[in-house]
Amino acid sequence: MPKIKITTKPPYVDMTPMVDLFAVILIFLMLTTTFRISEPGVVNAPYSISERPVLDFNIMTVVISDDGRVFFNVDNGPDTILKFRQKVLAEMGGHYGIEFTQEELTKFGNFPASIGVPIERMKDFLSADDPGEKAALQTGVPVDSVDNQLAMWVLYARQVNPAVNAGIKGDSGVEFPIVKRVLDVLQDRNVNKFNLITSLRSADVKLDEIPE
């Protein structure tokens, strides 16, 4: 008896809808998010009800990590061709008698995160290739009265870009005297308006419970 041969095809899953879905998710993620900036130290920003988003440019940020190290960051300005970061570093080098090469300036200009390196070690920091080596050099910008490099950073950042705003991003657990020190350094340079960088939270005011 002849057998009826049923040809078994290997199972076949149509992947096209999956590709469509993935493409949609991908486009959504690319449009709605920004890249997370990795800070060199642990910084858990405190919460506030403010809804104003952080500025994209014209902001210099003093970052205070949970172990009390101070970092400084300044942006390149509204147009990357302005190269504010490079100019600030060149000015700093001029003040402390360190000559930075064009290559070092470019490296500093493109460094994506805050920098907490004493200016004497800046050359080592910029030439270091290993991320671990770089992290080890991030000992914090000196802010004490003997060697107040943060004040110089603030001074030159404001000279290079007069429109710059001051931002402070601190870990909520950091002890107050360090914050006070940073505020004093900024106020000594006549910066009296600060943007404290926070995360959003909600709050309710129980107005109804209070008698007229």
Partner: protein
């Protein structure tokens, strides 16, 4: 598609086989997109950080310039202590009271502590801001965002009954408390507040409240 293209051996002979439409294998594309999505999910920050603006009073460098006087009856002093504790006292400490300064009252952060205390003192302005916000929300007034802010600023400027809050921090307070108390000012809508240094007598008052100081001696003063 995970499918092996079958060889058409042509054994069926004679019958014309209808060619199936060509399949494009999408699997590598799916793999790639999966990788991209995972990458974006891990590196992306969905919420942008927010900023809270604060203006600090300019430092007085000229010793001949007196700091501005503020009415004592409206003054509320808030002192941030260690371990998320917060103290307050009304008015000011007069020089003749230095031997026996007023006790500090302790309150807590959050809706039932410091916020309630401030709202009760700031009720006129708080209600006005609340009503204004309600009118915006219900659409009775429609204004661009900037104008809303300036209207609220105007309400605050015209207010002359609310408290004047002086925020001070004891040395072992932390930054989180500092931001939280400033945030509380915004929540309650305090028109006039400032961050000032802790004076030595207040330092003593905090230490007495914490139980670390023994006696107030005039020699510690400066």
């Amino acid at each position: 598609m995970a499918e092996i293209a079958e060889q058409d051996s042509g054994k069926k002979g004679g019958r014309q086989k209808v060619k199936p439409p060509p399949h494009i294998d999408m699997t590598p594309m799916v793999d790639l997109m999966c990788l991209l999505i995972v990458f974006f999910m891990l590196t992306a920050a969905f919420t942008k950080a927010k900023i809270m603006e604060i203006n600090l009073p300019e430092k007085i460098r000229d010793p001949n310039v007196e700091p501005p006087k503020i009415p004592e009856s409206r003054t509320v002093n808030i002192i941030l202590g260690p371990d998320d504790r917060v103290f307050w006292y009304p008015g000011m400490v007069r020089e003749e009271d230095y031997g026996n300064p007023p006790p500090l009252r302790e309150t807590t952060f959050g809706a039932d502590g410091i916020r309630r205390l401030l709202v009760e003192r700031n009720i006129t302005l708080a209600r006005r801001i609340y009503e204004f916000n309600q009118e915006i929300l219900t659409g009775r007034i429609s204004l661009p965002r900037d104008s809303i802010e300036s209207e609220i600023r105007k309400l605050k400027r015209d207010d002359d009954t609310g408290p004047i809050v002086l925020i001070k921090a004891y040395k072992s307070a932390n930054y989180g408390n500092f931001v939280e108390i400033l945030d509380e000012m915004n929540i309650v809508g305090i028109a006039r507040y400032s961050f000032v240094d802790l004076s030595w007598i207040e330092n003593f008052m905090v230490e007495r409240a914490l139980g670390i100081a023994s006696t107030a001696s005039a020699s510690t003063g400066n």
